[in-house]
């Protein structure tokens, strides 16, 4: 399972990138994207998904 970013809502602030414990988030082209192969949904590391907890726009980092 993995998370994804709804690109049209993203403000490109980059907060999710540096909070992601798996290094799954990168800036690609015009927007931030989550690499589903790397995303662990933060399981075993944090109680909540870091990207979703720090993102300023609700429903932007969501289950893929």
């Amino acid at each position: 399972m993995a998370f994804k970013i709804i690109a049209s809502q993203c403000t490109q602030c980059g907060a999710c990138e540096f909070e992601c414990p798996s290094g799954a988030i990168k800036f690609k082209g015009e927007t931030y994207v989550i690499d589903p192969k790397k995303c662990t949904e933060c399981e075993g590391t944090f109680e909540t998904q870091q990207c979703a907890s720090v993102c300023p726009v609700s429903k932007t980092c969501v289950p893929a």
Binding site: G14, V54, V57
Partner: protein, 493 residues
């Protein structure tokens, strides 16, 4: 003795200090209360050295020096109800809004480009959108690169305070000697109405719990900065019905913890900005409400009254924004720093400043000898240098001064829509100007046409160009004496 004729037109582009001989005379300062803002003789010299070229920290310096902000740190760790990070519109000027976000390398190019063209530049700030202490990697890289190239530029940051305690040691190492913390509450129950959430310790907190953590971090950050001798300015957003009364308490707390300046700013809430407050109909305060609160705070932590709530990437003197001249696409690919303009400018300012200070103390003498208990609210059109040197119709803002038996002090500015656009006078905007100037007795400007002068008079506001190109305080002193003095003095010596 008259002040030297100095034209910095060629140097500064937009700011001309002196277009006619100053009519000010010098005199000894007999008063220990020259205005309410920081003056050299009322503070210790180490502090004065730190703020004297900083337009945001010193009211006196804001007439001479310029700041620029670079938006390199867009990530933030809290949410404020007055902020919407989803939209930033290039046509707006308000805090947190930028037209371009930069990488540290782009920021360096821009800072050098501006330093070469704007000799008034003295401060580089990193503020919103985002939090400079949270988005630390970008902030630090930018400061390090710039400090290496331009050794004498002052570095400062704005922060919400949540991550601040973790950064104080590094800030001190990098010689950052000014920090602004936005503190809107000391009571977490009020905080819960301003901050829907914070992200801290790898999780999101909401409600009173979130506000409690934020409050504790803000207070400890402030104390740590004070302990290291780093000057702190506190910004508070005045939100009517939410924290307006409470800001009196905030002022007390921050003063006790060593804050140097307290800047109470009006909430900006327009539904078009898409912020929570904008959408929920929370209103911002009126100019006179803001002034009333600031007056009640007098005597607590020193108040800042000259804040322009500038765009997060503003460039230039406070009250002007030349940011559009320095967007990345207008800068050369390769820039090299040339210190000569900034050095020449500083030498001129040093002289001009001394003259203005002398003129000011003489003006104060005039207000005192007038022996009147009354106060006078004066709006001034200026484009810098501490002089009345702007045309009424060209002014984008008026600086408001109050003359009273206590002295002459700057009390704030009022932004207006320019009345003269491209040579054509707009009647509609004149109505707006008149209502913005509510409460003001007299407008001083370099030039004004008969028609707007008459219209202002109908609105109960007098306007005159009689003091054009004088120092602001000199003119106000003469005006006050003429209005209230027992023997009217000549307007100028």
């Amino acid at each position: 003795m008259s002040a030297p004729m100095i034209s910095l037109q060629g140097l500064s582009g937009t700011t001309v200090f002196d277009q006619s001989p100053a009519r000010a005379k010098s005199g000894g300062c007999a008063s220990s209360s020259c205005g309410s803002s920081a003056k050299p003789h009322e503070m210790d010299s180490a502090v004065w050295e730190k703020i004297k070229d900083h337009p945001c920290f010193s009211e006196e310096a804001h007439h001479y020096f310029a700041r620029m902000h670079v938006a390199v740190a867009p990530a933030c760790n809290i949410q404020c109800n007055y902020c919407n990070r989803k939209y930033d519109c290039a046509n707006e000027s308000r805090p947190g809004v930028v037209s371009e976000r930069l990488t540290p390398d782009q920021a360096l190019r821009k800072v050098i480009g501006v330093a070469n063209e704007v000799p008034q530049l003295s401060v580089l700030g990193i503020a919103g959108p985002g939090d400079a202490c949270y988005d630390w990697k970008n902030t630090k890289a930018t400061f390090q690169r710039v400090a290496k190239e331009i050794g004498d530029i002052k570095l400062c940051i704005s922060t919400n305070g949540l991550a601040l305690p973790d950064r104080v040691a590094e800030l001190a190492e990098m010689n950052v000697d000014h920090v602004t913390i936005t503190i809107n509450m000391v009571d977490p129950r009020i905080g819960a109405k301003i901050y829907p959430w914070i992200f801290y310790g790898n999780r999101r907190y909401t409600g009173v719990e979130a506000a409690t953590i934020l409050h504790e971090r803000q207070m400890s950050g402030l104390e740590m900065l004070t302990a290291r001798g780093i000057l702190t300015k506190i910004n508070s957003v005045m939100i009517p019905g939410v924290n307006d009364e409470h800001l009196i308490e905030v002022n007390k707390w921050v003063k006790e913890r060593g804050a140097f300046l307290h800047n109470v700013m009006p909430l900006i809430s327009d539904p078009a900005h898409g912020t929570h407050y904008g959408l929920s109909g929370q209103r911002g305060p009126k100019a006179m409400e803001l002034k009333a609160l600031q007056d009640r705070l007098e005597g607590g932590a020193k108040l800042m009254r000259h804040c322009r709530q500038c765009r997060a990437d503003a460039v230039g003197l406070l009250g002007e924004d030349r940011g559009q001249e320095f967007t990345l696409d207008r800068l050369p690919d390769k820039v090299t720093y040339d210190a000569s303009k900034r050095e020449t400018y500083r030498a001129v300012v040093a002289r001009e400043r001394g003259d203005r200070l002398a003129a000011k103390s003489e003006a104060l003498g005039m207000v005192k000898t007038a022996g009147s208990g009354k106060s006078l609210l004066v709006a001034v059109a200026t484009k810098g240098g501490g002089r009345i040197n702007e045309h009424f119709g060209h002014a984008k803002e008026f600086q408001v001064y109050e003359a009273s038996p206590k002295g002459i002090s700057f009390v704030g500015h009022r932004k207006v829509e320019q009345y003269c656009l491209g040579g054509r006078a707009e009647d509609k905007s004149l109505d707006g100007v008149i209502s913005t100037l509510e409460g003001v007795d007299i407008v001083l400007c370099a030039r004004i046409g008969n028609c707007p002068e008459d219209r202002l008079k109908e609105g109960g506001i007098r306007a005159t160009e009689a003091y054009g190109y004088d120092y602001i305080e000199t003119a106000i002193g003469a005006l006050y004496a003429a209005e209230f003095g027992s023997e009217p003095l000549a307007a100028t010596a």
